[in-house]
């Protein structure tokens, strides 16, 4: 700077000397040239001074310093010349200095505006980075929380379904057991039990009916026996009559024998013997009739008992049959209910299977949500890097150096925050296009 300044001083001194000498020469020797030379010289001097002042607006400062510090002969001459032309220079310098001041002022104002804009721009970048950082945090939080929740739901769902499946299969086994097939005749299922008990009970009822039928036949047989005893009684009456008549005949024969005297004594003995026999026969006949009466009474009692028994048997057998029929019907109804329940369980199982499918589809929402959220962060990352690029470019203009470091620090902070977080998909989803693009292919495709 010092070298440059001293060079400029020399230049200025020489120029002043030249102007002064030419001025003096022109005035002293050629009067005609006065106007032309002075005008030309003044013009040259003005141009040079203007040029100098424009280049060195801090001229005065340096001038003062140099005057204090430097004591070279050139400087002394310089000062003398300077004071000689000072009145003229003052006037000449006024115009370019004002022009320069105005230009400088305009430039400064422009620069302040740009500085202000750049500061605002840096502030905006800072705000954006803060918002982005916040959103990234929130999005990651949402992804993490929904992932945790989905994991819990999924594992609980898995447990519930496994238990429901076990329960259904156990119920089915239980119910299928009541519907199962027979093996060795012993009842294995409710259906079998119904069938076997129905068979056995019907067999028993048939037996009772057969006994009742037999009883009826026996009653009929007893009727026959009663008729025959009645006939025997009639015969015995006849036998009694015959005995009475025989006794009367023997009495007559005895009378006739006693009338015949001794000749009829023998005959009288025979007649008495016949009377005795007829009396005995009469006694027998009576006794037989008495026994026969007792037999008849016994038969009558048996007959009435048999009749009671038969009618009761029949009624009982019928009752049993009816009861068996009702019981069987009840059991069959129960069995049908069981079958219906089995069918219901089957239907419910199918419905559960359908619901399971729906849940499996729905529980994939987390994956889709996290992808969509990540696709929000991707354009944000892109925007952040665009802003980074722009701020870097602005920095390179060197307009405002004081916020360079500030921005760099922010950038570093944002980058480290993004790298430190688990954003597994953002690196792969280079664009958020997947959501914007229509699903152009089929859901399932085998290549």
């Amino acid at each position: 700077m010092n070298t440059k300044t001293s060079k400029n001083k020399i230049f200025w001194v020489l120029t002043t000397l030249f102007i002064a000498s030419s001025w003096l020469l022109t005035v002293s020797f050629v009067s005609i040239w006065v106007a032309i030379s002075s005008g030309l010289s003044t013009a040259i001097a003005m141009v040079l001074i203007l040029d100098y002042v424009r280049k060195h607006d801090d001229f005065d400062e340096y001038q003062d310093v140099s005057l204090d510090e430097k004591t070279s002969p050139i400087d002394a001459i310089d000062e003398q010349l300077r004071s000689a032309i000072e009145p003229a220079k003052g006037e000449i310098d006024q115009l370019p200095k004002i022009d320069d001041m105005l230009t400088t002022m305009a430039g400064a104002s422009e620069r302040r505006r740009i500085d202000g804009l750049v500061r605002k721009w840096a502030e905006l970048a800072k705000q954006f980075n803060a918002v982005k950082h916040h959103l990234d945090g929130q999005i990651n939080e949402v992804i993490k929380q929904s992932e945790d929740a989905t994991d819990t739901i999924a594992s609980s769902f898995k447990t519930v379904i496994n238990k429901a499946t076990l329960q259904a299969s156990q119920a089915m086994n239980l119910l299928e057991g009541t519907q199962g097939a027979t093996s060795d005749g012993s009842p294995q299922s409710l259906q079998d039990f119904i069938r076997v008990s129905d068979e056995r009970l019907n067999k028993m009822a048939d037996e009772v009916m057969r006994v009742a039928d037999l009883s009826v036949k026996m009653v009929r047989d007893l009727d026959d026996v009663k008729d025959r005893t009645q006939a025997i009684d009639g015969f015995l009456l006849d036998v009694g009559k015959l005995a009475d008549q025989t006794s009367l005949l023997a009495l007559n024969a005895d009378i006739e024998a006693s009338r015949a005297g001794d000749a009829g004594r023998g005959f009288g003995i025979v007649a008495q013997e016949v009377r005795r026999l007829s009396k005995r026969s009469n006694v027998f006949s009576h006794e037989i009739r008495n026994h026969l009466r007792m037999v008849k009474n016994g038969l009558n009692a048996t007959y009435s008992n048999m009749q009671t028994l038969t009618s009761k048997d029949m009624a009982h057998a019928n009752n049993i049959k009816n009861e068996i029929r009702t019981l069987t019907k009840t059991l069959e109804d129960k069995n049908r209910e069981v079958a219906d329940t089995v069918s219901d369980i089957n239907t419910i199982s199918k419905e559960i299977a359908q619901d399971v499918q729906n849940v499996v589809i729905s529980l994939q929402f987390h994956d889709i949500i996290s992808q969509k959220l990540n696709s929000i962060t991707t354009p944000m990352d892109n925007l952040a890097s665009a802003i980074d690029l722009l701020t870097n470019e602005t920095n390179s203009l060197g307009l405002a150096s004081n916020w360079d470091s500030e921005l760099a620090a922010q950038d570093q902070q944002t980058k480290s925050a993004t790298n430190g977080k688990p954003l597994p998909r953002s690196s792969n989803n280079t664009t958020g296009k997947e959501n914007a693009l229509p699903n152009s292919g089929p859901n399932v495709e085998l290549f």
């Binding site: 992932e147 989905t150 994991d151 739901i153 999924a154 594992s155 769902f157 898995k158 379904i161 399971v356 499918q357 499996v360 589809i361 729905s362 529980l363 994939q364 929402f365 987390h366 994956d367 889709i368 996290s370 992808q371 597994p424 998909r425 690196s427 792969n428 989803n429 296009k433 997947e434 693009l437 229509p438 699903n439 152009s440 292919g441 859901n443 399932v444 495709e445 085998l446 290549f447």
Partner: protein, 120 residues
């Protein structure tokens, strides 16, 4: 029963696929990214692989390429299960050697049908 390798970085997705396949009596092994999957695939031979595309460390398409370079997995069915829907990705998967493409969310019945198809 057939063994299937499931690769997805989302735990709930792995659970849902695992649940669906277990229910149909398939044996399932899970992996959270391409690297884990590759390691598992080297340890034992799977009959089929179902993989996501967007995963950290190693993505699905790179996994398909790596698997196809292994002698054991030259012809093993590899299904892509993804939310991606661009045709360019589809093409990329196809070129990498994937067997098929299923869009998330998958329908369990559909998934089982596809598995049955590719295993036959």
């Amino acid at each position: 029963m057939a063994t299937i390798l499931i690769v997805d970085d989302t735990a709930s997705m792995r659970q849902m696929i695992g649940f669906t396949l277990n229910d149909a009596s398939y044996e399932v092994t899970e992996a959270a990214d391409g690297n884990e999957a590759l390691e598992a695939a080297r340890k034992s031979k799977f009959d089929a692989v179902i993989t996501d595309i967007n995963m950290p460390n190693m993505d699905g398409i790179s996994l398909v390429r790596e698997l196809r370079s292994l002698a054991d997995y030259k012809f093993t069915p590899i299904l892509m299960l993804t939310t991606e829907s661009q045709d360019s990705k589809r093409k990329e998967c196809k070129e990498a050697g994937a067997t098929g493409w299923i869009v998330k969310p998958f329908n369990p019945e559909q998934l089982l049908n596809v598995i049955k198809n590719v295993l036959n």
